[in-house]
Symmetry: C2
Subunit: 201 residues, 2 copies
């Protein structure tokens, strides 16, 4: 029995090393540089061993992404408990800026980590939860989930476009300030509606 346990522990260690190595290489040189051969060499095992841990390269990317969500949630939490919405937004953008590849991985559509599902890994929901609590303080409970989604999407859009070179980096603070203005206090009701039934899926 104790043998079985030791082996399982070794397996877990090895899995961690795979994830860590993948993340390390990806953050330094991009995911194209993360080849299965290189990963195998790094953990000092042969290629096929990787496939006894993960279904494929995408699964490894997903594992790295989940790590990223956990870290993001932790940093947002720290910013929220000792400060307000502005600091949370700043923490969010700092996360995306200091780990650009990790951040990109978390939202790559290749890695389909479905949200709002019962089997959604906890770290994913945690990050969202932190944003929601930060928003609750200034916006109240009305339509809070949707409000959070919109605020989150706005932050995400800012970071994505900036990383892709579509927005000048030096104007980021001003943009963040404008966004926070929009999201400070209760939303005004009504008047604007999207589309006139044009919207079809």
């Amino acid at each position: 029995m104790t043998v079985r346990e030791r082996r399982e522990r070794e397996r877990e260690d090895r899995e961690r090393r795979i994830i860590d190595a993948a993340r390390e290489i990806a953050e330094a040189e991009g995911w194209d540089a993360v080849t299965t051969r290189r990963l195998a060499e790094r953990i000092e095992y042969s290629q096929p061993v990787l496939y006894s841990h993960f279904k494929g390269k995408d699964a490894i990317m997903a594992a790295v992404a989940i790590d990223g969500f956990a870290e993001l949630a932790a940093e947002l939490r720290a910013a929220r408990t000792e400060a307000g919405l502005a600091e949370v937004a700043t923490a969010y953008t700092r996360f995306a800026e200091t780990r650009p590849v990790l951040y990109e991985t978390m939202f790559t559509s290749a890695v389909d980590l479905t949200f709002a599902s019962t089997e959604t890994p906890a770290p994913l929901q945690a990050g969202f939860g932190e944003l929601r609590e930060a928003l609750r303080a200034t916006n109240g409970d009305e339509d809070l989930d949707a409000q959070t989604e919109v605020f989150w999407a706005s932050l995400h859009g800012l970071m994505t476009l900036m990383r892709g070179g579509r927005l000048r980096r030096e104007d980021h603070d001003r943009r963040l300030a404008l966004l926070l203005q929009r999201f400070s206090g209760q939303a005004r009701r009504g008047s604007f509606q999207p589309g006139r039934g044009k919207w079809q899926v």
Copy 2:
């Protein structure tokens, strides 16, 4: 001289066929399905011919992306001239939803189409310009460029997260309505500032 012209015309035709074929396959089966061999077969030339037109596959993707920006700008323009901000936002989301792969291509960081540069292809700026004019009507001229960038980023974030499965599609209209509420009318001044000097690049 007329021979030279004919050849150049044929070259341009062929280039168009490459771009169109790439876009067609990509929209139907994703960019992984767009291989150089398949493109070559489609235009009835050999592989190396592609490289006399484009530096590589990325360059072909960029060409498709530029086409996408031109189309987006045209559709936003139509929505703006005959309606208001809400309709422009709806047109934007409809574009992203009906051509998901094309939209994704336009903002993929692999395709680095730098904005806000003198040699930025015109179609890229056109789309941004349409959003700006739509915002001017309800928001005035104050800080208009930055306001537009934030609004654009918000829309982009919504579409990106929805496409990636992070946001439920059926709540999109409500989110769009909330966003439009936030962006209807003048921004309130001040009070919120991002970060306290924490922000470093």
